[in-house]
Symmetry: C2
Subunit: 149 residues, 2 copies
């Protein structure tokens, strides 16, 4: 059953699953998208400010999106996103870390220009296995309105 704009309630929080990073996945992602040595070279990374290998923030964002889409967005009438107003990398993400996604609707409003669309502003938060927050995303999504019966 598709989740439409009308089904979203401001203040609601979803717990949207977990994902565990391996050293291999951190290096593979970084080689492709963010080849800084503290993301790709475990030995040299020990001499960095991070004291060891850390995941690219863009990989952390990819994990956020994967959990969000697989566990919520693909059940909705999603119409895409115009962007994000805040992205914060709050703690390093290291090999073996398990990240858990919490997703909260901040506000919902109908679109004034597109009557078949609604606008949702949300906060997404990833926590590691020690309940330290590693990522905060605040942004906007577009969703289809429920068809009239």
């Amino acid at each position: 059953m598709t989740i439409y704009f009308e089904d979203f309630k401001a203040g609601h929080t979803w717990e949207l699953g977990s994902y565990t990073l391996t050293e291999e996945s951190i290096i593979e992602f970084a080689r492709q998208f963010d080849p800084q040595y503290f993301h790709t070279d475990p030995l040299k990374a020990k001499e960095s400010v991070f004291g060891g290998l850390v995941a690219s923030g863009w990989q952390t964002l990819g994990i956020y999106m994967k959990l969000l889409v697989n566990n919520l967005i693909n059940r909705t009438a999603s119409l895409g996103s115009p962007g994000m107003e805040e992205i914060r990398f709050l703690n390093p993400v290291r090999p073996g870390d398990t990240l858990t996604l919490s997703y909260t609707l901040l506000e919902v409003r109908p679109s004034s220009s597109r009557p078949n669309m609604g606008i949702a502003r949300f906060k997404g938060e990833l926590f590691n296995q020690r309940r330290e927050q590693v990522l905060r995303v605040v942004g906007t999504g577009f969703f289809g309105r429920k068809p009239e019966e």
Copy 2:
């Protein structure tokens, strides 16, 4: 030769290269990180608001980071990033599009808490082959100070 915080001048703009997306790369990325049908299914995507297959915004961000790191950041004394204050997906990115990165330093200031570090605020912009802007990123980066001689 490493580029240090002291080498950055507010107002400077770099042109940092181009990247062309294929339909295959759009589908492969989206299957892994953002499996919404308008990113993964060329036929079904024709019925979407986008009228055809479009790249995930997170892939556009990955291309932004790849061009930035390979063509600038890896020559600097980069110390990572605390986050971004704005990410805007301004136009759809489609198969065959060639994206070109323009990167502008907005302001630079020394860190008050870490004397060996400086803080740079920047704007990154991706344009397609028709000079339409597809992405704007405004964020912050940390960079090492030049060692005293």
